[in-house]
Amino acid sequence: MKLLKLVPDNTNIGFVKLRHWAFALTALLTVLAVGATLHRGLNLGVDFVGGLMIEARFQQPPQLDKVRTTVDRLGVGDGSLQQFGDPRTVQIRLPLPEQGGAGAANAIVEKARKAMTAEFPGVTFSRYDTVSGKVSGELIQNGVLAVMLAVIGIAIFSWFRYEWQFGISTFVAIMHDVLMTLGFFAITQLEFDLNIVAAVLTIVGYSINDKMVIDDRIRENMRKYRKMDMKSLIDLSVNETLPRTVMTSVTIMLALGALLLFGGHVLRGFTAAMMLGIVVGTYSSVYVSSSLLITLGLTPQAGERKERKSIAAQAERVGPRDDGARP
């Protein structure tokens, strides 16, 4: 059987040579993403701004205008409607009254249920969330804290494990991935809720996974080819790991594709975020984080110094092999 190979053997693409272009493109896209986020803002869900979200399922696809008038007639403040995928499902968002707590939110849900049932017989509320301003503030704080801690924690790990250059380059690349994801949500105006924070954290985790594999190979090659200059060494490492990078991205995209198409509407935003993150993360692993090591002045000697310094590294080290096997 002839096996499938997505990437031909022994590729030799000059990624490092392209780095100035890649950096410029990356910087441009990142600025655009940040600009879009600041300018358009994120479509924050009730998790983060507080309020009441009702998901109504209709017997027949309803006319949105009619739903809107029904909601407006409730007189409980500015409502907004959103529809995704299934034309029979509409998401209604309403502000929560300042005072009154549970009773007031209850009253609104009941009022909405009554008005909707009168207008559209057979409608059901398949789910609803109410989040008070206080809790939503905490959720947003925890979400931001979680993402920041994850990025910083991982950067510190790779700094201790390798060189400081690795820490910075992964930090930069991951921040890029996170900002691009935010930009995507700003541009598409998909709802940004708690699930998306989980998606962002997963992107961070996946992206770092990708970078670790390449970084690890760079470190291995630094020991193996002490005389090689850094540019060819990084190119060699990225090319060597390229089949794996592509294979893994494709398998995960296959799995996520199944989730996007068949996983139901609740997870759609989540999956979209993840797919984008995989693409962006793979790009930044191949083009940005490894080439950045050169800009940061990593030298092959740095590896030796660290080895001599750290006993822990000695204990775990896989010794340089020179057994005649050459690429």
């Binding site: 209850n106 997963t202 770092i208 794996r244 995960i252 296959l254 068949f262 997870l267 989540f270």
Partner: protein
């Protein structure tokens, strides 16, 4: 590296077999799973987003607790100083800024007053602190300040009682498998699966259910009462259903009997077929009630719930039997609810719902179905891709992934973890990343072959070199997962649990387990070429 003794193979396979066995109950229907022995009760719990149900986050106001404590303290001080012997006259009692202060009229009695008040305070915490500080300022004013330790203690015990009361109320509603947990200092999480309409639940939890019987002050001037002023010893309370159309009423401050003296409460009907709540007092409550009603025949008394007057019936004759009726514009449902609330006792502190998530059972069922279909398609697509890319080794990876999925379910069952909708996404993602470890190994084997190594050596090096990379990549991945678990709430946590378990099990199945398979193939077939 590739030589495994029989014992080693058994040791590697044993945890996988256990994991898979623990996953089995999750696939059985309810009836079959219940018959399994106790140690096999390892079904995965479904989160509310999958089973349908309500999640409520209730918050108690710590300020309320502090305020209430101060009011109680004031009451105690009054009683102690005015009724004790010798009587100590005080004035200017005020509780402002969370402190209680009052003046002792006779400066000579200040020390005696302090001596009498001290025993009212209690020790708080382990540091020997009291729950209130008693100080003398300006030689005649006594200031009682609650300490932080005292407030913390009070909040803690109030929350314990509140959690217990809520548990009782929900049990009385007959709900299936509710989860009631205290979260943080002043919050309680209530999760009730399979509830169609949580309105009744919220109404029930929103009631403090503080029941009091007080005499109506019939001598109060109605015009003044309407403006909110009451004579000394009385207070004005809201009375929404007042037949005289004035939504307030003046009642005596002194409590005849309170909800604490109840032994039972049930919903019933009065002679006009109107829904009421029948209550029964304990011995001392019945006696007190009998005594007051005998002395006040033909005068009205007020039935007060959570500071609002429900009704103010006339005392037609002394009520001596120890039981009474609460009337007040009830529906059968609301009377039943009040009966439940009264039976389970009053909440020591008012709770407000600060977060609610309700998922209808239909949507939950749809989500499970969609999640299962998506997972199956993902597995098939990834498996086919792996097979076409790596042939025999792809099959090994696929066996590993399948086992991995089962083991994750088994481990979740053992830990009693909850599977949520984002958790299903975590599953699908784990399927994707689990094969990453195999991809790393196989690509490395390809590389080593290209460098001219022999079959056995290439496989050996492939596993050895890739293992280190896999370890490091997964440690960093686990850092992200750990942070999600620690900081995340609700859905994020559900996702992080699957992710973390998946990281641990996937390293084991993808590296250790496939190595056993590869070694077994090498030993039995002794291949001279591998198609990878």
């Amino acid at each position: 590296m590739l030589n495994f003794s029989r014992w080693a193979v058994a040791a590697i396979l044993l945890p996988l077999v256990i994991g898979i066995l623990c996953a089995v109950p999750s696939f059985l229907p309810d009836s079959a799973a219940e018959k399994l022995p106790r140690f096999m009760q390892t079904r995965v719990n479904l989160g509310l987003d999958l089973s349908g149900g309500s999640h409520l986050l209730l918050e108690a106001s710590t300020q309320d607790v502090a305020k209430q404590r101060l009011t109680n303290m004031e009451e105690q001080v009054r009683t102690e100083l005015r009724r004790g012997d010798p009587k100590i006259a005080v004035g200017d009692i005020s509780s402002r800024d969370g402190k209680l202060s009052f003046m002792v009229r006779n400066p000579a009695q200040v020390d005696a007053a302090v001596e009498r008040i001290r025993p009212l305070t209690q020790g708080a915490g382990l540091t020997g602190q009291r729950d209130f500080n008693v100080e003398v300022v300006n030689s005649s004013t006594i200031v009682i300040t609650p300490t932080d330790a005292g407030i913390n203690n009070a909040v803690k015990s109030a929350m314990e009682v509140a959690t217990e009361v809520i548990r009782k109320r929900i049990d009385e509603m007959g709900t299936r498998e509710p989860t009631i947990q205290q979260q943080g200092d002043n919050r309680i999480v209530v999760q009730v699966p399979g509830l169609q309409n949580p309105k009744a639940l919220k109404d029930l939890l929103g009631q403090t259910a503080k029941l009091e019987f007080k005499l109506v002050d019939v001598n109060a001037n109605p015009a003044e009462v309407a403006q909110g002023r009451a004579p000394v010893g009385s207070e004005v309370l809201p009375y929404p259903d007042n037949p005289s159309r004035v939504p307030v009423i003046a009642v005596k401050r002194q409590v005849m009997v309170s909800g604490e003296d109840l032994t039972d409460a049930t919903q019933g009907y009065d002679q006009n077929n109107q829904a009421i709540v029948n209550i029964r007092f304990n011995g001392s409550g019945g006696r007190k009630f009998g005594q007051v009603t005998s002395q006040n025949v033909n005068r009205p008394f007020a039935i007060i719930l959570d500071g609002k007057v429900l009704s103010a019936p006339n005392i037609n004759e002394p009520i001596l039997g120890g039981s009474a009726q609460i009337s007040g514009n009830f529906t059968v449902e609301s009377a039943n609810q009040l009966a439940i609330a009264l039976r389970s006792g009053k909440l020591p502190v008012a709770l407000t719902v600060v977060e609610e998530r309700t998922v209808g059972p239909q949507l939950g069922a749809d989500s499970i179905r969609a999640g299962l279909i998506a997972s199956l398609i993902a597995v098939v697509a990834v498996a086919a891709f792996m097979f076409f890319s790596y042939g025999r080794f792809g099959v090994y990876a696929n066996i590993a992934v399948t086992i991995n999925v089962l083991v994750i379910l088994g481990v979740m069952g053992i830990l009693g973890a909850t599977l949520t909708l984002p958790g299903i996404a975590g599953f699908v993602l784990t399927i994707g990343t689990a094969v990453d470890a195999n991809v790393l190994i196989y690509e490395r084997i390809r590389e080593e072959r290209r460098r001219g190594r022999g079959v056995v050596q290439a496989i050996e090096y492939g596993y050895k070199e890739a293992s280190r990379t896999i370890f490091e990549a997964n440690v960093t991945h686990a850092i992200a997962g750990g942070i999600m678990l620690a900081l995340g709430s609700g859905p994020i946590k559900g996702f992080a649990i699957v992710l973390l378990i998946g990281i641990a099990t996937s390293v084991y199945t993808a590296v250790t387990f496939t190595r056993v398979l590869a070694a077994w193939w090498l030993r039995t077939k002794r291949p001279t070429e591998i198609n990878i």
